[in-house]
Symmetry: C2
Subunit: 352 residues, 2 copies
């Protein structure tokens, strides 16, 4: 079995991972096993999951509504009430089965229930496999502000089983691809090149390498004091754009990856202006992004609302927006200040 050792837990790949899950349940003698799903993962992932779970313990399914819009404290309160009513105690185990909303929210719910119960993450989307499977970030949104409430907490194990990818849409696969591009341009250009060249992609290998990179980064800097900030590449502006579309009632939401992809193009552009990152490489990134994602038209009249959201980015200190930019591929600079004009210019660059 392939596995990657994260700070205090293993990320397990392929079917043998479920044996470890059964071992964990036996060893800890959990009182009840709660499985957190949404209506989609209940319908499509749970049937794939359940034959692999060998246990005599009581299993209770808790279902929440899918979608980023439900990644909030109201949903948490609902789950906490459900666990309470179902007799959850300190020896309960929570298994999250779903995308980033489920794994992030579930980890937070588990970590705060009676001051913390064990949890296991089983990401079922490409995005959650490559992004949420290591790092210990749990949390929920506060209004439109993403992950504003949460904490660092680690699961007991994470299982990455690519069979679940059969259950998700192509749009979701593309959403996760943006994170792989991010690992590529900031840390290992081979990943980027593989996607660019679009040769027969081995998705399992891309996932494994992505998790490996994220784990290397997180182990070196668990609390995001330095190196870990590179994981925010494309996310600073990308999150603001994502939030903007989420709160705009007359616009279709973007997926996380779609927003981050725009963010990466813009932040590459800022990098070229501020750090001399070669413009050919900016264009290369833009081309790859536009070959994967539909072009979104960022409207001039929306820029100020996006700028307003940027000001609430978690990485800001004293109201100053901090970007991670690139000197070159695989060569980053942290805590870059960028003028409002250049941010706007970068969005105009994306637009043309």
């Amino acid at each position: 079995m392939k596995s990657i050792q994260a700070v205090s837990y293993p990320v397990l790949f392929e079917k043998k991972a479920y044996l470890e899950l059964s071992n964990l349940i036996d060893k800890n003698n959990y009182s009840t096993i709660f499985i957190l799903v949404d209506e989609n993962t209940l319908a499509h992932c749970y049937p794939k999951f359940t034959p692999n779970l060998a246990t005599q313990k009581r299993i209770e399914i808790i279902e929440i509504e899918s979608g980023e819009i439900n990644k909030n404290l109201e949903t948490c309160i609902g789950v906490w009430n459900a666990i309470t009513e179902l007799g959850g105690d300190r020896k309960s185990l929570l298994i999250t089965l779903g995308g980033g909303v489920i794994t992030d929210l579930g980890g937070f719910v588990a970590s705060c229930f009676k001051r913390g119960i064990d949890f296991v993450n089983i990401p079922t989307t490409l995005l959650s496999m490559v992004d949420a499977s290591v790092g210990g970030k749990t949390g929920v949104d506060l209004g439109v502000l993403k992950n504003q409430i949460g904490l660092f907490a680690n699961p007991e194990i994470v299982i990455v089983d690519t069979d679940y990818l059969e259950t998700v849409t192509e749009r979701e696969i593309k959403s996760g691809t943006a994170e792989i591009i991010k690992y590529g341009v900031t840390y290992d250009i081979n990943l980027f090149n593989e996607i660019k060249d679009n040769k027969s992609l081995n998705i399992s290998d891309l996932i494994f390498r992505s998790v490996e990179i994220k784990n290397e980064v997180v182990l070196q800097d668990p609390k995001e004091k330095n190196l870990r900030k590179i994981l925010n590449f494309g996310h600073t502006l990308g999150h603001a754009i994502e939030s903007f579309y989420l709160e705009s009632e007359n616009k279709e939401n973007l997926t996380h990856g779609e927003a981050i992809a725009i963010g990466m193009v813009c932040e590459c552009y800022m990098s070229s202006k501020l750090l001399g990152f070669p413009i050919e490489k900016v264009n290369e990134v833009k081309e790859v992004v536009l070959s994967i994602y539909n072009k979104t038209s960022l409207l001039k009249e929306d820029f100020s609302a996006i700028m307003e959201l940027l000001k609430h980015d978690k990485k800001n200190i004293n109201g100053q927006v901090n970007f991670v930019l690139l000197n070159d591929f695989e060569d980053y600079k942290l805590d870059c200040k960028v003028s409002e004009e250049l941010i706007v210019e970068s969005m105009e660059f994306y637009n043309v």
Copy 2:
């Protein structure tokens, strides 16, 4: 300056403590200082506090409504929104100024805001000084279930300044006294004897010794696997009684200490039946309790509702209620199972 070193932070006593607070603020160069108060501590404690705070930093006051009934997630959401609107960032400091509701809720709010900002606790009631100043427990209630949602998180410093006790009622002082009695009977009988003999109490000394004991216990067992459970003496039944009065609309609420005092009398009685704890000592505890607190009549028709609440105690595993009982003063036994009949009998013993 007197101080006690807790796991990762000092508990500082008397006026010099504020110098350390100023040093902390300078050293960490916080962006903004948020002070969490309720209407009472804003009116009575904040005026005592503010002359001691020497800083040029921006200070923002956030006020919540007083009372256990407001120790919930809705209040947290309000505080998180307020901090967000006031431009709080990861370098913000939250100072809690108040009783247990403020310090418990404030610690939780700080620990989850953008995955954790620093906080300082300044307990202003006797209860919060002796109980909440060490141990790292933060959290809020879920419905009537006390502290159901929360986590272990430590403040940067705690300041115990007995001047704040001038601002609270005698009933609140008595509420805190119950915890001192608990430290007495479970860990250091001198504390109990001092209260029993009611000789000129030096409240500062009682507080210092109580914090010292709690700290010794918590350092040995931070996550409440063993020894720390003694701090729950009187609380298992006491919490259920407290919750019951909180949710009963036609009954006056009990203070935490009033409920815990009843819980201690009952659990002493259980101890005598199950572990041979001497009945004279049970009566001694009952006498001291009744000399301090008004007698509450526990109604027979309420017993089943109290039993129902007991089943949700955080310490329960597999639905089994676990008590900490006494072999003798300063000699406890953990994880005792008690029959429903004996629990009821113990409440009848308190009643007569």
